[in-house]
Every structure is written in structure tokens, then in C-alpha cells.
Symmetry: C2
Subunit: 417 residues, 2 copies
Amino acid sequence: MKFGGTSMAGTERIRRVANIVRKQAANGDQVAVVVSAMAGETDRLVNFCREANPLYDPAEYDVVVASGEQVTSGLLALTLQALGCKARSWLGWQLPVHTVEAHAKARIEDIDSDALLASMAAGEIAVIPGFQGIGGDGRVTTLGRGGSDTSAVAVAAAIGADRCDIYTDVDGVYTTDPRIVAKARKQKAVTYEEMLELASVGAKVLQTRSVGLAMKEGVRVQVLSSFTGDDAVPADELPGTMIVSEEEMEQILEDGHMERQHVTGIAHDKNEAKIILTRVPDKPGAVANIFSPLADASINVDMIIQNVGRDKGETDVTFTVPQTDLPRAQALLEDRREDIGFNRIITDSHVAKVSVVGVGMKSHAGVASTMFKSLADRGINIQAISTSEIKVSVMIDEDETELAVRVLHTAYGLDAD
Amino acid sequence: MKFGGTSMAGTERIRRVANIVRKQAANGDQVAVVVSAMAGETDRLVNFCREANPLYDPAEYDVVVASGEQVTSGLLALTLQALGCKARSWLGWQLPVHTVEAHAKARIEDIDSDALLASMAAGEIAVIPGFQGIGGDGRVTTLGRGGSDTSAVAVAAAIGADRCDIYTDVDGVYTTDPRIVAKARKQKAVTYEEMLELASVGAKVLQTRSVGLAMKEGVRVQVLSSFTGDDAVPADELPGTMIVSEEEMEQILEDGHMERQHVTGIAHDKNEAKIILTRVPDKPGAVANIFSPLADASINVDMIIQNVGRDKGETDVTFTVPQTDLPRAQALLEDRREDIGFNRIITDSHVAKVSVVGVGMKSHAGVASTMFKSLADRGINIQAISTSEIKVSVMIDEDETELAVRVLHTAYGLDAD
């Protein structure tokens, strides 16, 4: 079970979490709980580090920020004990959670689970601070912001858990953002691949890394809400959304627990920016001249299209980057104006990406054409297109995002009755 | 070097601390720094624990409260790096600081200093969170409130430090509380024994345990202020008060660095309460019946006097306990009224203990009689007396505390010119 910062914000909320955990344990289950720091605490600690040293040493940064989860893990253990449960905390260095690579953005390599399993078998609820581990240097490491989801999946994998229940402030994965489409439906299940596409295009329910790890390790993940009150349906009855392998999804569909759909969800992302380079020489190597330096600078380029230019031998190149990287990308391209040989840079942050996602589209043609036609019927102009095996994305004007999402939700038959 | 919570309260103050440390290191010294949590932080964390579980598990309490010093140690290392120093933090479990006995009131048994000494020899300033260690169970322990002074002395002993400089919000040990006596003088040096008596009777400059440890390990301690500004005298020039062995004190006196005094200081303590049990049977075992149950309940009885009772074969027994233990002591005695056989319990929190302290009184008669005469001359009534080799204490009415301290300060020739 994993609880995020909003669920852990203060002793009252921790008591609510403890009640949920107690019920699960009372069910006869062996339970390990991974917790985030209290909401706002990590920001407070990061600010201390910035004030102390703007160019902070990641190893010391880790010492400071890992304390937030240390506090909540101790407090949850105490609260569980107050409810009559046996419980104890296991800090990252105690299990230990071995990590590799850099401080402040470590990756979990291995978790020693022997002591943990013995303690759980003896009836103790294990409470584990998320986000932290121990490096090869014997020092505290952290996984980067949002790393607690990944910790939870890694612990679940290490102990061979039947399920990893991730409690969030939403009660599952929807067909699209319910704030935009009132008729959005909660999904019973989605595949890892679908969740990855939905997460990476803006359905921010789980950290992308955690989904990737769950897929790699075959950990069955359930997303559900910690705010549905003490008398909520037990997590065993799967009130949230299960994130599973394609094989398990096939079984769920065969057993008739869910309807077969071509499209699972509609995602949108307003955090992209468009860059157009005009009059780029239309010759071999020209495109590499643009994208190699961006890749070297770790700027993620998403959609790319080449327009036919006004003059022969020249083309316009359009692509998208994350909005936060736009100034850096622009400066980098200006520096290489001569190498690349473009005429003008035109940028536009006023764009959005809307995507339809579904493993079902692998075996079903016509998903993309339904998308283009539905949008065209409503006069929404498509500025760029990108596709993967289970996703079609289009770039449109930002003002038309909500309209496009509603149109597509209806077009693919996702509206609730 | 050790810095307390007031010195570490916020990144601005930590920067001031870092500057003091940097100067010491720039002096060519190898430096280890022990830090407390930010002022108020430990209280905040303790309150979380109480809210989570009023009967909290000390092992989990330790996990929560140890985080306060973890944060400040990381932040001081970062701040030192920002000033161009090499620095790193060493958490209690990393050194490790081995502790024994119970969680939440652990005692340092041993500190592995090899890695620490190697790091310091390589020019790194070591920053160590006070108050914390690791128990035989491999879990985080804390030393009990105020334990950072003890951590500092233990680290100094482990690395064979030339000196342990404890920076506080006072600039040394005075002949008495300067808020009461304007003519109080800062001492150049006091002995461990004197400091123990001064601390335990209310001159709250250092934690008593830390002084006891310094005496046992022969660590030379200097008490000085972290609030005298960046251009303060370097700590090497001993601007504070040195706490040393009697042998070193003899040397200091012989070298003429200090005047020989019979009385080193006047301490006072308003946190005692008086209990009178009337008409206790004057027979063998009666007194044991009173004090054994108090000792079993860890209630510290200080002064004891027996008055002649009104009737033959009966006496009144008067003694003092810490004010905070008064309700518990009273309840305990009421429970044993029949066993003990007293008539009434009379309690009085409106008392104070005033003590004169000095190793010089070992070899000089008349210190006690000067005390009694000076107080009698001003009409101050002595309700009880207790003495040790280097201390004479009297219990008086609380309202007369300040007057008594001033009278005695003058009587023993301690007033500054």
C-alpha cells in the first residue's frame, strides 16, 4: 500500500491512513506500506537547501530531503500501534534499499527483503519511507521528485506482493479528465503500456517510472483513493483501477469483467511548445543538425513535421519540446543558426497535444481516421500528428483542447450512460 | 565545535555558524561540528508523536525526532560548501555512534572514529547531528532532550580533540546569573566538579550528562557564544569559559591566569518543591518507607531534614523533589499513608534552592558559616540545608531568591569591580 503526501499531511490524515491499513491487515493480509512526506514538507526542505547553497551538493541535499519521509514513516508506525496493530518503520538504509547512479536522482537496484519478510510473517506491518535508499557510498540517496510511487512498486516486487495499491487523490484512471468531460468513466483495468502513454501525455496519476518498473517486474498495481472515507469498499474488491499486463487484461476481457474497447482513454497535455524553423536547407544531414544538439542537451523533442517550403530546396521544420525547455532550446538553436542554416525561429506555447490511447487499436484499423474526421467536423485544425502502436497524438490550438477531448470521448463511445 | 538549536534556527543563522566554523578551519585546525535541530523543531516532532500515539513506542519516536538534527547537519555541510570549504555530514548510523540502553534515552557507548578521522585528515569538515545514534537493534536511537552537548563531548573524546567548543546563547560560565547580579563575572575556567554542581543546581549552560562525560574522558570543554558576531575573538584565544580537570585548574592558577577563589559561583533553582510529612513514627525503617517508593518511581529526592515532632516518638520529615514530580510524589505517598504512618502531607512549591559552589572550599573552612551568617543578617530564613564536598545549598522562600543570590555574591567577594 502506498500513500502520497496529501494523505500523510498531518496526524489527523495519518490516522485515516492507519485505519485503511488496519482494515487491510485485519483481512488476514501481510501488509507493507510505503509513505511520502507530508504535503509541502519536501518543498520546505528543498528550499532550505537552495537557501543554504544554490549549487547544492546532491549527497547533502539527499540527507536533508529524505528526512520528510523518515518522519511520516515513524508517525504512521506509531499511529498503527495506537490502533492496536503491530507495526515498525524500516528506513531506506535499514532494509536496505540499494540504489545506483547519482544522488538526488538515484535508481533502485535491489531491495534486501529478508528482514522485511520475516517481520511481516511475524505479523508486523512494515512502514517504509518512499523516495529514499542508500548508495554504493553508504550514504542516503533519493530517487527524484515523485519517487515514492517507484519505491512502492520496487518494494512490492522485492517481497513478491500480490498487489501494489497506490492511494492517491483520485479514485482511479478515467477515460479522460473528469473535470473536462463529466461523462468520463473510471476504468476497471488498463494495461501497463496504456498507462505509460496516458501518464506521459498528461494523465498524471502515477509517476511514469513507477509504471515502467511495474511492467518490467510484473507488479499488479491498483490506483485508488484514500479520500473515500473509512467505510470505503475494501481494496481487495478492487474499487480503483488495476494496471496489469496484456495477458491479464485478455483474461479480464474474456471473463466478461470489462467491455472490449479500441480506445481506452483520451489524454491531453498543455505543457508542450511548438518551434518552427523556416527555410531549412532540404538536404541530407540538415535535420540531424537540428536535433542532435537538442538531444545532447537532454531536451525531449516529441512531434516532428516537415512542411514543403516556399522555395525549392528549402523546407520548414516544426517540432515540439516541453514548455519549460523552450528558452533553452531557442538559445541553443540561435547559437547554431549558421550550421543549421534556417531563416527564422517561430515559437508558440499556445498549443496542446491531445492523444487517444488503447491497446485495442493494434488490431483495429480506423482509429486514427476517426480522430482526424471527428476533429475536422468541428473545425479543429491539426498542426502535427505523431503515432505509436497504441497511441495517436495531434497538436492543436490550446484554446480548443477541452472541445477536442469532449468530441473524441464521444466519438470513441467512451461517454458514460 | 557544537552549536545549539538557537544557533541553527534557519538558514541565515546557519550561515553565521558556517562562518565561525570556516574561520576555525582556516586556522589550520581539523574540525568536527556537532549540531542540534533548529530551535522549536524537536518540540514540533515530539508533538507529532504525542498526537499519533500518546503512549508512543520510543523506537519510532526516535525515528521521528532524530530527523531534526539530520536536516541541520545536511544544511550546515551545504552552507560550508557554499563558503568554499570541503564538508560532509555523518549521520549517527553512519559513523556509527553506538548507543546502549533504552530508545529515547540512549547512552553513547562507543563511536567508530576511523572514517571520521580519515575524512578530517583529508581536509573535510565533519558535520555530525547531535542527539542521535544507533542501537544494538540496528535502529535509530536518541539520547534524551539536550543530548547534543553529550554527543559533542563523546565525538571530541573519540577523535582525541584538543578542545570541545560548545557555542551557546551565553558567552561563558558566570559567577552567578547576570540577569540577577549585574556585577556577575565571567569565569576564565571552572573544574568539571564545579560545573556539575553549577549545572545541577540550575546554571543551565551545559547538560549535566555532558559535563560528567567530559570529566570521565578528560575532554577540555569551552563554553562560548555564537552570537558575538563574525569579528569575535577566535575560539583559540579562549574568549569563553574553559571547563577543565582540577590538575589543569591548578596549573592555570599557578601560572597566574586566574585568582584563587574559595567560591566559584552562586547558583539558584526555583524548580524544586517541598514536601512535609507530619508526625511520622520516630522508629527504624520509617524513613525508608518514605523514600524507597519515591526512588522506585525515579523521583529524585534532594534535601532531607527531620524536625523534632510535637509529641514524643514522632517527627516531621521535610524533603524536596522536582516541581514536575510533585503531583506524582504526593499521590504515591497518599497511597502509602498507612505503611508510613504520617498524619498530614504539606506541600510548598514556593521555595528555591540557593547554592555556593567551589573546589576551593575543600581546603577552606568557614564557607558555610559565611553563607548562614550573610543570609541571617538580611533576615532570610533557611528552611533546609544540604552540603557536598564542594557545595553548600540552602532552601529558602522563593520570593527571597534574588536577594539571597546578591547578598552571597557580595559576601564571597565575587562582585566585579
